[in-house]
Every structure is written in structure tokens, then in C-alpha cells.
């Protein structure tokens, strides 16, 4: 099972819809490449919609952290939207839930970037 991404622009924010698994190997690489590509095009307000991500491993968590710090270091911001229970629980136990800005309403999330 691979991970798929698609991006769309909403009021100056790039919403990335992800689905599948963010795990060691393809999933992590796809996420990394997607964020890198967005930054290279000057898209620095990134909202990762994880509503269809039902599984993430420690490598995937590392990739989320990497994306977060990379975007922040370039003066942008990266937020998470619509966590599934499994991803939510994992971010809780790793204490990353409070590090990331986690949203559950897309319109409010988009607004929060401005």
C-alpha cells in the first residue's frame, strides 16, 4: 500500500491531501519530495491533510518533524489537519501533538495562516 498526495491552493495556503501509509521507504520519500517541491516553488504555507493517513511509523514521524522544521527554517509554517485516531495517538505518546499545530477544520486552519 503506497501513499498518494495531491495539492490544492486555498486562499494562499497549499493544502496537501495525503492518503495511505507514511512509513519507511516510499511513503516517507513521497512526503519529503512533496514538501521540498512546494518550498522550491515558494509555497511556504503548508497544511498537511492527514485525514486519509491510517498508518504512520517512526520513520514517518521523523519525516513529519523534518518537514515541519524545514518549512519553519525557511520562514514558512506547516500545520496538520484531520488526524486519524492512530496518528493522533502516536503523536500524543511521542509528545509531538503539542509541537505541531493540529487542526480539525480546514477553513479555520487555512485562516490561521494569515
Amino acid at each position: 500500500m503506497t501513499m498518494k498526495t495531491s495539492t490544492r491552493q486555498v486562499n494562499g495556503v497549499t493544502v496537501v491531501d495525503l492518503s495511505g501509509r507514511i512509513t519507511l521507504g516510499e511513503g516517507s520519500v513521497v512526503l519529503r519530495d512533496t514538501v521540498r517541491d512546494l518550498l522550491s516553488k515558494g509555497n511556504k504555507k503548508i497544511l498537511l491533510n492527514l485525514g486519509e493517513v491510517n498508518y504512520i511509523d517512526s520513520s514517518g514521524i521523523g519525516e513529519l518533524v523534518s518537514a515541519f522544521t524545514t518549512v519553519r527554517n525557511q520562514g514558512g509554517d506547516l500545520k496538520l489537519l484531520n488526524l486519524t485516531k492512530k496518528v493522533h495517538d502516536l503523536l500524543q505518546i511521542t509528545k509531538l501533538y503539542t509541537v505541531f499545530d493540529v487542526k480539525d477544520d480546514e477553513a479555520k486552519a487555512v485562516k490561521s495562516f494569515s
Partner: protein, 163 residues
Amino acid sequence: MQGEPDPKAPEQIAYMSGRRVSYTLDSTLETVNSAEETASRIAAEAGFGDEDITRIAMAVREAAVNAVLHGNAYDPGKKVTLAFERTAVDLVITIRDQGGGLDMSKIPDPLAPENLLKTSGRGIFIIRSFMDEVEIHPSQAGTEIKLTKHVHGSNLDGKEASQ
């Protein structure tokens, strides 16, 4: 009859003895995925609920990642051994690599504030969070990690265990 080896079929080199089954696997990414899938299947057969199945499978995945990447470092000459054993009260999973032995002193606390934004180092922590007992035995011949999940409390016999 000897057919073509299928790297995605760990059962080909499985040895079953009573309630114990073990697999000898290559140091590849496929091993990580098949270890997770096998753990999920065996945990389901053992009667664990969905949440526990996910946790067991994830712990096994993380242990397999450690064995393949950090232990054997993808060395094709080194194998990963994965064993499952059912006792009356436990599911015990052992993952062994042939690497240089995990240096426990170099495993940072991923919850420490200075480590929160590190991109790696959470595998062992996740394993400990999801399993009831975790033993790690590093040696010069490799690292063995033993994961235990108590079966009681599951719906193994169709009723909740009473305390």
C-alpha cells in the same frame, strides 16, 4: 520440488514447532513489511482486538526496522530471525539480527525537550509503549529483542478476563 524463491513469502523458510514459528529473513525493506503483516495475522489468530493487533504489528515493524537498518545495515549476508510463540497467557515475539549489537547508552530519550524535534530515535520508545514487556539483549553477535503482549483481557475465550 524446488521452486523459485519468493522473497515476499517468509513462510518458505518458516519452522514450526508446537506453538512456536520462526522465520529467517533477508535484510531488506520487504522483510520489514512482511514482519509487520505476519505479526498482524498471528496477533489476530491469538485473539487480540484491533487496537492491540495494530500496536503489536507496529512494535514488530519498528523492531524489524532496527534489525534490518541499524543491526544488519542491509547486509545481504546477514539475516533477521523473527519468532512468534504462544503461551497460555502471552504472545512472545523475538527479533534477532546479526549486527554489531545495539549500544543502549546511545539511545536518547525521545521525549526530552532537546530531542523532540529529532527526526529519528523513536523506534524503541514506540515498541516499549505498545508492548507489555520488552527485553533487549545486545551482544557482539547481534541484538535480540523480545516483545511480550499478555493475551488475557483479549477476547480469546469470548469473555473478558476478570481481575
